[in-house]
Symmetry: C2
Subunit: 300 residues, 2 copies
């Protein structure tokens, strides 16, 4: 089944890129094929200076090799060789009124028969709109509910906990869903069904983002809003480099740095102890960056 998963993930990358190019209407993805000595490789697609997307990365990889001591420690596993394939996306828009978005679906397999799927989607608005956050969560709930009604509440909480910037005591954005180590052993689904769930999520991704792009693209942008966007991108960098387990594991385990750091924004700013004005949309946003918010009800 691994060949099927790999080839479907590769097709998913192509599908997502072609949809995003249509919605953007200007930017084109550049493909970069790479291979790694230890086995396997990938294709890293990047789009810069689009009409709506300032910098976007859609990466596919399928790698295999020996399980290193580091991996054994991290995974607590007894396998000797592994296979891993996935699609990872981060999009940084031009406008502060369009959110940053991230999506990932991945499959991991060991020679001892163990396998699991993981993934997630989360949204990082520079300015939080309760209505738009609700639209986003409604769509995720719909996809989750179509396979198992326990998924959305479980994976929504998992996202709140995962996409959390501890040293800022802030969530990265309005969350979304996150899941890991999913196999027939710990879900109601068969391997095929979990795989199909990942694919459904991946195929819905461009349309989920299209909604957010459409809603934000015509709003006018002030200089102060641009500045705020750059500061929020700084927080995105902090999350990815300090807290994101995928990024950290990739960087210390000899992963391909340029593909891992595709998530970095084109430009980010830092300012000492910046405090938004009282009762401003910036302050409203900060106040919403909390775990456990019920975006579905709040947006009504």
């Amino acid at each position: 089944m691994r060949e099927l998963i790999q080839s479907e993930f590769k097709k998913l990358q192509e599908f997502i890129c072609s949809q995003l190019e249509i919605f953007d209407g200007q930017g084109k993805f550049q493909m970069d094929d790479w291979s790694r000595e230890e086995g396997g490789g990938g294709r890293t697609n990047t789009l810069v200076n689009g009409r709506l997307i300032e910098k976007g990365g859609v990466a596919f990889s399928a790698v295999h090799g020996a399980v290193t001591d580091d991996m054994k420690k991290q995974l607590g596993t007894t396998g000797n060789s592994f296979f891993a394939t996935g699609v990872s996306i981060v999009l940084h828009p031009n406008s502060p009124h369009i959110p940053i978005i991230h999506m990932n679906v991945r499959y991991f397999e060991l020679d001892n028969g163990t396998y699991w799927f993981g993934g997630g989607i989360d949204l990082t608005p520079h300015y939080i709109s309760l209505k738009r956050a609700a639209l986003f969560h409604e769509k995720l709930k719909e996809i989750c509910d179509s396979v198992d009604e326990s998924f959305y509440p479980t994976f929504k909480k998992w996202a709140d906990d995962y996409f959390f910037i501890g040293h800022r005591n802030e969530t990265r954005g309005v969350g979304g869903i996150f899941f890991d180590h999913q196999s027939h052993a710990n879900t109601s689904l068969s391997k095929e069904q979990i795989f199909n769930f990942c694919l459904t999520l991946g195929k819905a991704f461009p349309f989920i983002y299209q909604t957010q792009m459409e809603l934000g693209k015509d709003e006018s942008v002030t200089e102060d809003q641009k500045k705020w966007q750059m500061l929020r991108r700084g927080r995105y960098v902090e999350f990815n480099l300090v807290h994101d387990r995928g990024t950290k594991f990739g960087l210390v385990s000899g992963g391909r740095t340029e593909s891992i750091l595709l998530s970095m924004p084109p430009v980010a700013n830092w300012e000492y102890d910046f405090k938004p004005e009282k009762h401003s949309p910036e302050e409203f946003t900060i106040n919403q960056l909390k775990k456990g918010i019920d975006w579905l009800s709040n947006g009504k």
Copy 2:
């Protein structure tokens, strides 16, 4: 002796800020006093939009409290309460022809009688000049040699190993000196002498940087050079957030985030798989970002 160290470090902060203001000729430091619930506090001085310095931070702190389980694990110690004081500096200049510089001196003491000093200075040129790197290292060697001739070679190697961006296989810059856990038990010096060494280093810092500022400030700057500077600042962010033990320990142990992340540049850029042109000064710089370079000889 802890009161003396604390008050001398505080004076050192004032001295460095006043010298930097004189050299910059335009920027003024803003002071921000803070305290922490668990005990102690600090003063964080920041300068933005100077003539030569775009963003600079000079932080003093003196904190005390109970040794937490995290610290016990990290330090391998049996003490119950600690005291720590230090001065930390990172300066990001406007011009890509002036290097980023970092300096730190610190003192740590436990209630069981254990203490140590640590610190270092390292230079991160956006464009490496062998001559300017040699001037920098010559001054550090002179200060080291005045107390112990083994210091420079030992601490220079330590800096090469510490200021290394593993996932890029690059040093952060041309290195400098780094030392930690220095006490009368493991050096030729008494406690007073190690302390004086730290003070000498700290007092020399503004003049060391003045030399680098003077040499770079009148060089004209192209758009491509600005772009390169922003990409190198991205690397600086990567080092600090992914590898710097001080930053990581501070962020996970509940340190004051704004003071710890004072080291962040005002603006940083990322571009997928950027490669400098062959035989360009940018390529020359990349090729010099190696451990073990003898800057003293190379600059002759």
